[in-house]
Amino acid sequence: MQPLKRVLLLLVLISAAAFVHHRVALAVPQYSAQAGRTCDNCHIMPDWDMPKLAHRKRNMSCQACHVDPAGGGMRTTAGRYYGRSTLPMIATSPRPQDDWDHNFPGIGRRDKATPYETYMPIGPRNLEQAAAYTDSINDKWAWGTHRKLIPTAPFPGRYFGLNPDPKLRFGGDFRAAALFAGSTNVFPMQLDVSTVVHPVHHVTALMVVGARGQSSGYSDTFDDSHTPYFRDLFAMSSEWPYQSYVKAGRFMPNFGLRLDDHTNRTRREFELDNSIPESRVLGVEAGAVAAFPFVHASYFKMKSKFEEPDPWDIFDVDDGWGASLNLGWRSFAWSFGASSMVRRRPLDQGGDTDTFGIYGSFNPWYFSTGIPVSLQGEIDFGSAQRASGLDADKIAMYGEIDYAAWNGVNLLFAYDWADPDRDVIDDESGRAQVGAQITVYPGVTIDSRVRYLHVTTPDGNDADLFVQLHVWF
């Protein structure tokens, strides 16, 4: 697609989105949808008072649950609270608000003890009461409190025993996987330790040190000279009106739906594989997530496509530059977004790429508790220079439907497809996945998927079973 056509299409889509009448609320994917439904998870004022427009979070912003506005990884206090009170089959924190009571048979929940007709039975109802809850905080992974309580920041008692707004916090994200594809291969996938420093309001620094797993074994994971490394390292000023922010440092460009499945072709075909250091860049990103439009823009420098950046020197990025723009409209019921990204490098460093994508989601759950379903999809177009200098045009697409069978049990069907070079015959392939994500206990998720890959050569069609144990806090 020509650049001018891309811009025109983008403008048309944005204009259309701006004039579509909608109901309130936000978000997807499934966890965002559920978190959005549980109002107490995000509302910053007790009594459900409507915050001023500038401070509303009813937009399924990734920031509602994650420290990084781009989503993923280290969670905010609201995200931790959701993970303890709502997400799992067996919750450890009371949830004082009815959402959709569909507990797995035989599994008890703490929220059963709270009568729904008297919501918010715990915690302070205003800032004055909140001060008295400071001593009730019992948080193993967070330290420090801010002396001044302000309405736009989480305050004591609001999230049960969690430190609402700590100055220092640690987190972890550990994943191990088993792949059954003719033989069994068990391997570590991801070993991340995160540190968040939040000395004063509006200022945050995030450091994520990660070790990339190797499917050949545990020793290879640690023998690899490129692990561990700074997966993310940036300073950020945030919590401004309309959830606006600016961050600077090492991160991954903000483009499309940031999927947890890093093998998805809408990510891998465009150098956005979240699991590898090559996807990291050094740059500046600014954005805002209002109710309901959102925008994220970044400028970055990067390493050669063929080299991993230095694991610790985030300034090892002198081989090219790039920029990305990701914007759209996101409410509880539906969302629509458009992304574009350019990369400029010498040909022998990977060459230029241009990528444009649209994505969206629909959340029937918003309309009825009897339809705990959410859908999302993305389609991306792009071009990348081959070694000859000629462009290879690409297409990648992805769709997913999620069904929350019970609290803590999410069933899904996903499909992704890609044609990495539209001029070349028989290089396209598609992959279907049927699976279940079961969060048994806070911080423990088992993700199992049967995956089927179909290619253009019939003998190459094959399936496997992928099981992931995910421990996070």
Partner: protein
């Protein structure tokens, strides 16, 4: 999705200069390392219990694909399996057109390698 796909020719025909005319062993080794060695490696401290696949040719075990000798000895088998997409197995991503063409051209050029001068 097939209707979305396009292209009538192989990469070799579409863009002969998309990969080097004479790929080096190091290029081939990098592909094998990324795509094959995760499973097809010799036993190491991790694989002593036989958890990992080993390359076999008929009845005779050979070292894993992290060795030059194995790559050279098994080159035709490797090419056949990656071109018909039977390897990597399961739903793991298959090799792309550039990777397949590099291996093919390296073999057609006599498979030059440190162990096969």
């Amino acid at each position: 999705m097939a209707g979305c796909a396009s292209g009538d020719n192989t990469l070799d025909a579409v863009d002969p200069e998309a990969v080097a005319a004479n790929p080096t062993y190091n290029q081939v080794f990098a592909i094998i390392q990324n795509r094959c060695v995760l499973c097809h490696e010799s036993d190491d401290e991790d694989g002593g219990d036989g958890d990992y696949l080993r390359v076999t040719t008929g009845a005779e075990d050979v070292p894993g694909l992290e060795t030059c000798a194995s790559i050279v000895a098994l080159r035709e088998d490797i090419l056949e399996r990656v071109e018909d997409n039977t390897m990597p197995p399961g739903a793991l991503p298959r090799l792309n057109s550039e990777e397949k063409l590099i291996i093919r051209r390296w073999i057609e050029n006599g498979a030059p390698a440190p162990c096969n001068p």
